[in-house]
Symmetry: D2
Subunit: 423 residues, 4 copies
């Protein structure tokens, strides 16, 4: 873990400038009729979940270049997640992935308490074989063979069972099922098999749990995927029942798609389950959130803030990124703050003015109203929220100063790198 001393020392250096920036921004926002402290309090209360797998170094089908001190198991991962939360105050929960993170519930709970974290949604894995008797090479929940589907259903039920013991309240299902060739699968029958299996999982869902299904346009299947877009995902959630919802991963869409509109539609029809935040330029690039198109992230949050307070509106927020060239802890801290930033900017939108411009078809002033909120530099708000929590004003700086990575590198042996024989 990180010593509070390290953080405090780092904050001491930054505090004066931060207070000056915060005061100046406060005056500026006051002129716009906005109470900076109210915004800060909402930001301070906001949290985004960390995926346990995110703290390991990512890779591509070509290669994986491991970093130093990579976590060996879920307990190391929880340590790393604890560091992220300690430094940012923005990531109170962790989402486990089974079987990668399978462990005794008591030990998981103990570690969570130690690191000050709780457990978010459980993630099942039926896109790898992972030592199961039957292979998922040709699909899992939608496989032509009922025995394979049954195996995949049971794995999901196991994830629920484990999740119940550690306080999770949701199961996230993403499958790699699809096809690589026209004709390889009957797309309708494959969908129906998927639906049947998903219903079996849903039947095992505790009353106070939610089931999240996730669409993806392509990869690892390259001709069709069984849950290819939000339309299919909506139909699945609708067929399953009231506790089934759709997850939106920002990199799982076709090129040029208006993602904030998908968010708006899912909200409208009561099926927005939550997010896997990341950014992308080409496909499911899993880049750091906000690193490619920060305005798009803001526009998503603009929809969320607009829907805030609606009954039963409670989307789950999680990061989901692959850190191939950065220290995963640094990227996750940075990304958690980008999510907060978008949220803070969206809170600054003058919604009464916006509504007026929309009513009058004053497109220029309507869009300027959004841009004005977006271009406000809310960094002092975020940093002040951190300072008041005794998290770090500059989390990356404090992390580097702490020597944490070097320290764990000594305990954790270097992981194997490599990559398939794939071009």
């Amino acid at each position: 873990m990180i010593d509070q001393d390290v953080i405090d020392r780092s904050n001491a250096v930054a505090e004066a400038a931060l207070r000056a920036d915060y005061a100046a921004l406060g005056e500026h926002l006051d002129r716009r009729g906005i109470d900076i402290d109210a915004i800060k309090d909402k930001v301070a209360a906001y949290g985004v979940a960390i995926p346990s797998w995110g703290v390991g170094t990512g890779g591509t089908r070509f290669a994986r270049f491991p970093g130093n001190g990579e976590p060996r198991h879920v307990f190391d991962k929880l340590d790393d997640c604890g560091v992220i939360h300690r430094l940012t105050g923005a990531t109170p929960s962790v989402s486990l992935h089974i079987p990668w993170d399978d462990a005794a519930p008591a030990e998981l709970n103990a570690k969570a308490e130690e690191t000050g974290l709780r457990f978010d949604a459980m993630n099942s894995n039926t896109f790898q074989d992972s030592g199961q008797p039957l292979s998922y090479k040709y699909g899992s929940l939608s496989h032509t063979d009922p025995a394979v589907r049954q195996q995949a259903v049971e794995h999901n039920l196991y994830c629920i069972e484990l999740g119940r013991k550690i306080g999770s309240k949701a199961l996230t299902v993403w499958v790699g099922d699809g096809s690589n060739f026209p004709g390889q699968t009957n797309m309708t029958r494959q969908f129906d098999r998927y639906l049947g299996a998903a219903q079996d999982i849903y039947a095992g869902l505790p009353e106070d749990w939610r089931l999240f299904t996730e669409h993806k346009m392509f990869e690892p299947a390259f001709y069709s995927t069984v849950v290819q877009d939000w339309g299919t995902n909506y139909l699945i959630a609708k067929e399953l029942g009231a506790r089934a919802f759709c997850l939106v991963d920002l990199g799982h869409h076709a090129p040029n798609v208006n993602i904030e509109m998908i968010v708006a539609r899912l909200i409208r029809f009561g099926k927005l389950g939550g997010f896997h935040f990341n950014d992308s330029k080409y496909g499911d690039d899993d880049l750091d959130t906000g690193s490619i198109d920060p305005y798009r992230l803001f526009l998503v949050f603009n929809e969320l803030v607009q829907a805030e307070g609606a009954p039963d509106f409670d989307p789950a927020h999680m990061l989901d990124q692959s850190h191939n060239v950065t220290d995963p802890i640094e990227s996750l801290m940075s990304s958690a703050m980008e999510v907060q930033r978008a949220y803070a900017q969206a809170l600054l939108v003058d919604r009464a003015a916006l509504e007026g411009f929309q009513k009058e078809n004053d497109a220029l002033m309507a869009t300027t109203t959004l841009k004005r909120a977006f271009r406000t530099d809310v960094e002092p708000i975020l940093a002040m929220a951190r300072l008041e929590k005794r998290a770090a004003v500059d989390p990356v700086g404090a992390f580097r100063a702490s020597g944490y990575r070097a320290r764990v590198s000594e305990e954790r042996p270097a992981a194997a790198g490599g990559g398939g024989g794939i071009v």
Copy 2:
């Protein structure tokens, strides 16, 4: 019109070669267990509707370069459509667009009888002002002003009224509504306004009619559209009721989208209304059907043939193209035949074998089964179907030989070309 003599003379030249090709293909298909005459009969019975606006020369926002002998009004258009059907035997109906084709029902019916055509779906137009008192600049069915929505609803009801008098059984609604700027519109409220107005139209739909709504990703709105994809379109059809269905235009999707899968999903959930056939490489290019990616067209028909015979499965087929550099009559004939071609190829798929390969996850043989059907040159089947109807074996050749274009050019004055001052 075209003299039967012209056609017969043209056919006389081609007949011997056609019969030889047909016989050889028949023997080949016989070895594959397929009765060529049965395929030919299904092809002969197949028809695709012509959009009345398709017989005029198209254009872009940059320019429109008129052709010779362009139709002046709906009666000229029906003449041209009659020529297309006479030569191909494949286009028995015409889809009108109001107000462009507004005319006295009795005269329309008389002309239809004269040209041997019937009327397909009616198309409303609320994407242009067209002399209406209120402007559609900021939307029509989804406009913020209820008076504009009312005007748009009434126009649609008028289209139904006219359609009833000429034997149409469906209304197609496509709107240009959307926005050009983030924030210009509240996407959820805009959708709800659209839905309310669409319900008003649906309320006026005769019992034996269907309502087709059409999604489109972009253009003329360039940030968001109110019916942006099939997911939203499905939700609209679902909300409206049992006689509301979704139209699929092959050029209205995001890049890389698997269109045949959308078709499969809409079939699965009972909401496939029909097609606007064309082809595209970049956007809503409205190119000739099958001219860019003929295999994709085949894969769509593969889904349709697979669903043939299901209860209540009766999608409407129409061409929808913009002919900027070709003679519209020639392009429409050629495209109608491309649609027939894809249908014929899809009929050749060995579905029992395919199903077996799918069951065994034999992806290579499954896809080869489709490819084998696709690569069969079915031209002799299509041509024989035409010959037997005394349509033209070579419609484009017969059309050119007929002198029709030159003849109508004398009667029909040159249309204005031009284009907006738009770069």
Copy 3:
């Protein structure tokens, strides 16, 4: 024109808040080692050209909904451009389009003097027929018929001739040439014909002029375009000679393309001619600059600022947008300021730090260095630059207060709207 009084009154209201914001930002930047006044001076000296056609209401192939008080001719257009420059102080020049803006040079020069503007690059038009004897339906500079090519060349030479008389120093050539069908054209021969014609134009270029050619992926041609991407455009500029350069329009690329990298490559090989600024989500949407992806615009300017000061580096900056739902004057003012904003943000990048992070492969800190500059709210810098020029602190507000649009609407009769019979 706009009275200085109107502007001054508007500024008087805003000045105190602006001075407070500017002072606070100045202190903040000072802590980052940046002199705010130096940035402001660079921004104040920066200008972007207005395209004459931009002040008219745009449209799509579906419809054009005219606005009030649309300019009737080039002199009205220059009045509108004068207003834009008066209010923003950021648009000192206008780019004419021939034949739309053809007029007597003396009158053009007189009007320019009156409105305080000068003339930027000349734009030729061979994508419409515009009363020429030979049609461009099947191409212009690349047409199979040498007479058509000759006509197109002569038109370009005429544009140069006119441009010389009004002080222009560049010719911009964009053609709609391409094809709608595979096989319609031999793509290599078409390219060679284009090249030959472009060489004829280049031969007529004065010694102190530059020739800008512009690539575009699609539209109005929907299968291929003769200058489809920057690669082809580079080869053209290379073949033509030292005074030929490539223009980059932000909406003319394939989906997902890294535009800032194209800018970097063209700089590297000495062929970046300049920009047509706008924004796009789907294709050549011609939306307001920075309205969809402001970070992308910043990244382009990041390349430009990095290259500043290199010998012979002098790209031309112009807006090129289609204003379908906004007042063109307002959109152009707003867009000119967005371009300035991106420039100002790019000036804030700590380049020494960036270079260090790049050297050390510290991807996180490198990208954070860019983001830090981008998220700085530079509005006070831009507004102060305007205030000091006695342009408007709030150009849109001042414009609305001025009553200019209502005034010109009285003089300028309503333009025809409408749209082709195109779906």
Copy 4:
């Protein structure tokens, strides 16, 4: 290997039908003025190289599901490649990948002789660490550290050295270099470093060798790649010298890009080096050639056939696919035949007629000329070419009948599957 007996028995069953089909097609083509035997001879003489890595099962970043009897090393791979060539007669050469296929030249030559194969281009690998002292995590030929660049150069020189000893005449260089974040790299300096290192490789190229560089839009780098498109690749080849050429991989482009036009441009400027054939729907999907868009493949070959016979025109043809759900031997055989099919179809284009239609701007007949060639079922031509070589009329059927896969599965132990901890 496969016994000739197995092939002969399989052919005996198919021969009568094939001869009937061939005769019928011959008569049909004769009516079109085409000599079927001449086409068959050209097809018979055509060969495409197999990449050694293609005979192993592919995978994605999510998982790799190994097949049975996967090759353990280059000698097993050559055995598999020998089978492919024996059955199709279409794949006379193999392209090695170093270090995966590193072995003693004498043994490689002996094995090649045994399997009846020769060696095509050598492929270097600097996108994985592969036991090198310095890591390629942050780049190889473009790394900021000259020592890393030097290591990468030397590896390429080693590939040349090995290649010389086994009769190869070309080196293919593809790098994964790029960046994942805006600002991570100075794109211009990175390019210059790449260029410098490539020049060092070029300096070591034997006089009778060619250097192929390959562009790719994205993956494994997800923000920028150092050779992102054909434009950059052209500039590299140009800078390097007369023996440097550009490779075109069909899956390495932006969405919607007109690939056949890129081919045409590279031919025009003398820099087309060759192809990596595969097919894709979304990105670098590496699907079987012709499986997604067979018409696109045909259009590429249409450009190649048009350029045939030009001086110094000699592109290298290779497959490059990832076989995730099929038997690699079957997919490679099938793909080799798809390449032949496209070639045969392109040979059928009536080029005199096409040229005439192009000259007259008869777009419909021009494109119909291409379509007519494309829709001709040339399978009898391909099969007859195989029969006459005593390769298999039905290679997949004969392969399955041969029991080869089961046989090698006994000798070759099951490979490890798995996949990274990457979502």
